[in-house]
C-alpha cells in the first residue's frame, strides 16, 4: 500500500502523460477559445477602442466556455473503461484520486488557457500594464472552475448525454467568478487598483478548493456505486 502523496503523484503523472499522448484533446479547447474570441470583433466592431471596453467580458466568457468543453471528459473516459472503479477499489481514498485528476485537468486546460491568453489579449487591445492582473485572475478563476466542474462532472458521469446538463449545472455556480474576474481585469485596464476583486477571487478559489473535493467525491460515489 503506497502513501497518499505518492498516490497523488502517480495519478498526476498518469493524467499528464495521457493528455500528452493525445495532444489534440489538449489543443482543441484552446483553439475553441481563440475562435470564440474572434467571433466578437466580427459580430461587434473591429475598433480597438470599442473592443477594449468589452475585452474583459469577452475574454472571461470565452475562458469559461472553453474550460467547460474539456470538463465533460474529466471522469468519463475512466468511468467507461472501468479504470475509475479500479481506482476506487484500490484502497486509496477516492478523494485523493479526485484531487489528482482535477489538478491534472487544470494543468492541461486552465493553465494552458492562461498561457494562451496574452495572444487574445493583444488582439482585443488590452494594454500590457493589465497583463499581470489578467493572468493572475484567469489562473485563479480557471482553477476554481475546475473544482466546480469536478462536482458537475462527478454528478453527470454516468449519464449518456451529460455534457449539456453539465453546463447547465456548472455555469450558474461559476457566475461569481465571472463577476470578479472580469471586474479585476476591467479595473486593471482602466488603471484602477484591482486588489478588491482579486481578493474576492482568491477567497472563492480557496473556499471552493477546500470544500469541492468532498462534494466531487460524494458525487462520484453516487454515480459509481
Amino acid at each position: 500500500m503506497i502513501g497518499m502523496f505518492s498516490a497523488l503523484r502517480l495519478i498526476l503523472q498518469r493524467e499528464l502523460l495521457l493528455s500528452l499522448r493525445r495532444p489534440d484533446q489538449l489543443l482543441q479547447p484552446l483553439v475553441f477559445f481563440l475562435i470564440v474570441t474572434t467571433l466578437f470583433p466580427l459580430a461587434l466592431s473591429p475598433q480597438l477602442s470599442l473592443l477594449r471596453d468589452m475585452a474583459p467580458g469577452v475574454l472571461w466568457v470565452a475562458a469559461l466556455l472553453s474550460s467547460l468543453l474539456s470538463l465533460d471528459a474529466l471522469f468519463r473516459g475512466d468511468a467507461e473503461d472501468g479504470t475509475l472503479e479500479q481506482l476506487a477499489l484500490s484502497g486509496q481514498a477516492l478523494s485523493v484520486i479526485v484531487v489528482g485528476k482535477t489538478v491534472a485537468h487544470w494543468l492541461v486546460s486552465g493553465a494552458a488557457l492562461v498561457v494562451m491568453s496574452p495572444l487574445v489579449a493583444i488582439a482585443l487591445g488590452i494594454p500590457l500594464a493589465a497583463f499581470p492582473t489578467m493572468l493572475a485572475s484567469l489562473a485563479l478563476g480557471t482553477f476554481t472552475l475546475s473544482w466546480l466542474g469536478a462536482i458537475g462532472a462527478g454528478l453527470t458521469v454516468g449519464l449518456r448525454r451529460g455534457s449539456v446538463l453539465l453546463s447547465l449545472i456548472v455555469l450558474p455556480l461559476a457566475m461569481p467568478l465571472l463577476i470578479f474576474g472580469a471586474n479585476a481585469t476591467d479595473r486593471a485596464i482602466a488603471g484602477v487598483n484591482p486588489a478588491g476583486a482579486m481578493y474576492f477571487l482568491a477567497a472563492l478559489c480557496v473556499f471552493t478548493a477546500t470544500l469541492a473535493p468532498f462534494a466531487a467525491t460524494a458525487a462520484l460515489r453516487i454515480t459509481l456505486e
Partner: protein, 244 residues
C-alpha cells in the same frame, strides 16, 4: 418523540398525514391570502413616491421569500435523505423543487411588472432580480438532474447533493451580484430598501407572507402524496389504498 420521527420516515404514514393536513392548510392559506389581498390592494394607503404601483409588493415579496425558503427546504430534505437514507426526505425534496421554481418565476414576473412603471422598462439588471434569475437557473439544474438518471435512488442522491452545493452558493452569488451592480452603476434606480413601513401597509404584507407559507405547505402535501404513491407503486399498501 423519536417514535414520531421514525413514523415520518414511513411512506403510508406520510401519505395519510399529508392527506389530513392539506385541506386545513389550504383553508388557512385562502383566509390569510384573501385578507392580505383585499386589505393590501384596496385599503392600504398608496405609497407617497410609488403611488399604487407599490401594491405588487404584496405578491412579489412573499414569492421572493418563498423561493429562497423552498430552496433551503429542498436542500435540508435532500440532506436528510442523503445522510440518514430516509426515502421520504428525497420525496419531500422532489415535491418541493417544482413549487420553489414556480415561486421564483412568480417573483421574477412580478418584479419585472413592477419595473415597468418604476424604471420604465420590464427588465433592468437590478441586483435582486438578477440573483433571483440565477436562483431560477439553480432550480432548473436540480429539476433536470433528477430525471436524467434511470435509477431513481441515484437521481435522488445526485439532486440532493446538487441542492446542497447550491445552497452553499446562494449567498455567495447573491452578494457577488450585489457587488457587481453597485460597481457598474450607481444607485440611479429607486431601491427596494424600504424605510419602516406603517402598520397599515405592513399588516397585509405579513398576512400574505404567512398565507404563502401555508399555501406552500398545502401544495407540498398534495405533491408529496403523488410522489409517495409513485415511488411506492410496487408495494402492497398502495394497492390496498387504491382499491378502497
Amino acid at each position: 418523540m423519536w417514535t414520531w420521527f421514525y413514523k415520518l420516515a414511513s411512506p403510508p404514514y406520510v401519505y395519510r398525514v399529508a392527506a389530513l393536513l392539506a385541506p386545513w392548510l389550504l383553508a388557512a392559506a385562502a383566509l390569510l391570502i384573501g385578507y392580505g389581498l383585499i386589505d393590501g390592494l384596496l385599503f392600504a394607503p398608496p405609497d407617497y413616491q410609488q403611488g399604487n404601483a407599490f401594491r405588487i409588493i404584496y405578491v412579489h415579496a412573499p414569492a421572493a421569500w418563498m423561493s429562497l425558503f423552498a430552496y433551503t427546504t429542498m436542500a435540508v430534505a435532500g440532506a436528510i435523505g442523503l445522510i440518514w437514507h430516509i426515502k421520504m426526505g428525497h420525496a419531500v425534496a422532489a415535491a418541493t423543487a417544482p413549487i420553489g421554481a414556480s415561486f421564483t418565476l412568480l417573483a421574477l414576473v412580478t418584479g419585472s411588472l413592477w419595473g415597468r412603471p418604476m424604471w420604465g422598462t420590464y427588465w433592468a439588471w437590478d441586483p435582486r432580480l438578477t440573483s433571483e434569475l440565477i436562483l431560477l437557473f439553480l432550480y432548473v439544474g436540480v429539476l433536470s438532474l433528477r430525471p436524467a438518471f434511470e435509477d431513481q435512488g441515484r437521481g435522488d442522491r445526485a439532486a440532493a447533493l446538487l441542492a446542497l452545493v447550491g445552497v452553499v452558493n446562494v449567498p455567495i452569488i447573491h452578494y457577488s451580484v450585489l457587488w457587481w451592480n453597485s460597481l457598474h452603476q450607481g444607485a440611479t434606480v429607486a431601491k427596494f430598501g424600504r424605510p419602516a413601513m406603517p402598520g397599515s401597509m405592513l399588516a397585509p404584507l405579513l398576512s400574505m407572507l404567512a398565507g404563502f407559507m401555508l399555501f406552500y405547505g398545502a401544495v407540498l402535501c398534495q405533491r408529496l402524496r403523488g410522489e409517495v404513491l409513485n415511488r411506492e407503486r410496487q408495494s402492497v399498501w398502495v394497492r390496498e389504498a387504491m382499491k378502497s
